[in-house]
């Protein structure tokens, strides 16, 4: 039997069709405030949203309010005056008959009902939210995926008010125009390298996909001019997670590239407990500081936050335990601790530079020592994580720990991976410990979340907000979540703009394997036991198949004499940094291979070598 083939339209195309259909219906009908057109989940990926469309005789401003289960749960926004109104409704409750008030300024009003099904399919998504409506107001705490649980946001009462049903993983940030920016939902290489970034409305409309040749991972940052810093890598090189690019906000073009091998030598860096030659730096955060025109990168696998000059890329300083680094680097770039209760951070995430120049991070404190002190590694049960703030003096190269939260909570707040801190104001912070894991026996897990879960463990995430050393919010949810972010679902910015989104930038050329396995076509179809399928897209395709461990497997694209070879590993890879297990399959035999169409032209036969036989798939890929 031929391999199953399907063509998956880009989300932007699907959304454009859905929007066109909605607007056509709106144009064809006579919709008023009293009888509006209501389109639930109009952009397909936010099932806690809708769009309402109606006309008014006069130009008038309209306020829409999702009525909360309590008055403090109301979420609303006033839109500029118009005659034709196409308004996003965000903040709907799951499994609930939502009431939404539509009120014209000094005019009529109506309360409509929007029935929303249980979008979580009965799954428990929260244990507790401990805060007050006065503190959180109409903000939500959004947690972004690091595992199978997709993005969700909770209000002051702990009700889910926002959710995405596609795996946009890693960081989510609000842009100055009111849109959100987050990782795309398209994984281009396991374990978690995504095609790029989405600029998206809170109601789920994707305005832009910024495709990045080396993919996206972990973090992005909006510059003052609107351009975007994006963490990436060279997927054709031997190392990963060691590059950053600056993307033009309008065109997606790469304006500037930083390759970390230019300011650090992978051969001489001091290793963290999770270091590997392949993932020698493991960059999990980027921060631009306008005051010093510098970039700070957090490198989990060097236990360090590294600051470079934005223009020259030259190294300015390194915050981290100097053990194991070359002495000349220690002398030149490292800080000397001063003051009391100082502790270095280990395998940290989410560096932040405050307006006063202090440096914060989530100190996962994984292992609590560098690799050179392996014999002193802390077991998970004795570990802790914390938010920490360091005051640095770059003249005398001293560093002082001026604040921390989380150490006292011990293993119950310990996340060996992921997580973040947010700076709101002096003394006002978020500390998100989103990678808590327990093994099948209920003990703090030595394995990272995704692996703990696959072995019968339990995952948790705790997000706290602290103001003047007083805990103002404590959110406790099942599952691991990469980061927490506080925001309002409606903004003073765009909210919803009509028109088709743009697919910008380009995919890279997928790395090929140049060595040939000399085999003739067998003419046989790939066995059904491989359970193979192909998902084709405009700019790439993905081959899913099951193979036994240890089989030799190679995917081939053949067009006459032209052959492209892609090796598929059937060996379980012991990832030391599974920051996002969203795409991890519980069956290690299942493989997922994404091939970008960039660099390919024409129609190719897709064939697969398994051990000593070359199989047909019956699938052709057109590029």
């Amino acid at each position: 039997m031929a391999v199953n083939y399907s063509f998956d339209e880009h989300l932007i195309d699907k959304q454009a069709k859905a929007e066109e259909e909605m607007l056509k219906k709106f144009e064809a009908g006579h919709y008023t405030i009293q009888d509006p057109l209501v389109v639930y989940n109009a952009y397909l990926i936010n099932p806690l949203s809708a769009v309402v469309c109606f006309e008014t005789e006069e130009e008038v401003a309209v306020t829409v309010t999702v009525l909360g289960k309590t008055p403090q749960g109301n979420m609303g926004h006033t839109f500029p005056k118009a005659k034709k109104h196409v308004l996003p409704i965000v903040g709907l409750y799951s499994d609930y008959q939502n009431k939404v008030e539509i009120r014209a300024y000094r005019g009529e009003s109506n309360v409509i009902t929007i029935d929303v099904p249980d979008v979580f399919d009965g799954k428990k998504v929260i244990y507790s939210m401990d805060t007050t409506p006065e503190y959180l107001q109409d903000n939500v705490i959004l947690v972004s995926p690091a595992g199978e649980d997709l993005a969700v946001a909770f209000d002051y009462a702990g009700d889910a008010r926002w959710h995405m049903n596609v795996p946009c993983v890693f960081d989510v940030k609000r842009l100055r125009n009111g849109n959100l920016i987050m990782g795309s939902s398209r994984v281009i290489q396991m374990p978690y390298y995504m095609s790029g970034l989405y600029e998206i409305s809170p109601c789920g409309k994707i305005y832009k996909e910024f495709r990045v040749p080396g993919g996206y991972h972990h973090d992005e940052f909006e510059m003052e001019d609107g351009n975007i810093l994006c963490l990436t890598e060279d997927l054709r090189s031997e190392t990963v997670e060691d590059m950053c690019v600056l993307l033009d906000r309008n065109t997606g073009e790469i304006l500037k590239t930083w390759d970390y091998k230019h300011f650090l030598n992978p051969e001489t860096v001091s290793h963290s407990g999770s270091w590997s030659a392949h993932d020698w730096f493991h960059n999990n955060a980027v921060w631009y500081d306008k005051n010093t025109n510098s970039l700070t990168f957090s490198g989990r696998h060097v236990d360090a936050m590294v600051n470079i000059d934005f223009e020259t890329g030259d190294l300015n300083w390194i915050i981290g335990d100097p053990a194991g680094w070359p002495q000349d680097m220690v002398d030149k770039y490292f800080f000397k601790p001063v003051g009391n209760n100082f502790e270095w951070q280990y395998e940290q995430h989410a560096c932040v530079v405050t307006p006063s120049g202090d440096v914060m991070c989530f100190d996962n404190h994984h292992y609590g020592h560098k690799e050179v002190e392996r014999d002193q590694f802390l077991p998970a049960k004795d570990s802790y994580s914390r938010g920490v703030r360091y005051k640095i003096n770059t003249k005398d190269m001293t560093i002082e720990q001026v604040w921390q939260y989380g150490k006292d909570r011990g293993a119950e707040f310990f996340s060996p991976y992921i997580c973040n801190v947010e700076y709101y104001n002096e003394g006002h912070y978020m500390v998100h410990s989103g990678g808590i894991a327990y093994d099948a026996d209920g003990n703090p897990s030595e394995a990272l979340g995704a692996f703990a879960k696959n072995n019968g463990g339990q995952l948790e995430s705790i997000t706290v907000e602290i103001c003047d050393n007083k805990k103002m919010l404590d959110l406790h949810v099942p599952g691991n979540y990469y980061r927490g972010e506080k925001l309002k679902l409606y903004s003073d910015g765009i909210n919803l703009e009509l028109g088709k989104g743009q697919i910008l930038g380009q995919m890279g050329v997928t790395k090929e394997f140049e060595t040939e396995i000399p085999l003739e076509n067998s003419g046989e179809m790939l066995p059904d036991s491989c359970n193979a399928r192909v998902e084709d897209e405009i700019d790439r395709f993905t081959f899913f198949s099951r193979f036994e461990k240890g089989q030799l497997v190679m995917l081939l694209l053949e067009q006459g004499e032209e052959v492209h070879r892609y090796f598929i590993s059937t060996t379980a890879v012991p990832f030391l940094a599974m920051c996002c297990g969203t795409f991890l399959d519980s069956d290690e035999r299942n493989t997922r291979t994404s091939i970008n169409k960039n660099g390919l032209k024409g129609t190719y036969d897709l064939r697969v070598i398994v051990d000593d036989k070359k199989y047909e798939t019956g699938v052709q890929i057109t590029c």
Binding site: E238, A277, G550, L552, F567, I568, S569
Partner: protein, 103 residues
């Protein structure tokens, strides 16, 4: 030369000239792929390089002696001394460069 050897043969051959040791497992897909790559590497260097394949599972003492913890692992020896090491499946240019840099 490219041949599979046991511990005794390895010790006899590894001390002279440039030797590329391939610690492999018969249960490993990348190791099987590397075999094809090494055939190409052999063509490149001819008699200037001896490629010795060592079954990881059958030669535990040797793997321990060389600190090999996973497969495939390539170790380049020059007159018996380790001068380079590559872990995991490698493409031909990477291996060729390692050998050329140490000729």
């Amino acid at each position: 030369m490219l041949k599979e050897v046991n511990s005794a043969e390895f010790k006899e051959l590894a001390g002279k000239g440039l030797v590329l040791a391939d610690f492999f497992s018969t249960t490993c897909g990348p190791c099987k792929m590397l075999s094809f790559v090494l055939k190409d590497v052999e063509k490149e260097f001819g008699d200037d390089l001896a490629i010795l394949k060592v079954d990881f599972d059958q030669n535990k003492e040797l793997t321990a002696e060389y600190g090999v913890s996973g497969y495939p692992t390539l170790i380049l020896l020059k007159d018996g001394a380790e001068v380079g090491r590559l872990q995991g499946l490698q493409q031909k240019p990477v291996i060729v460069k390692l050998v050329q840099d140490n000729k």
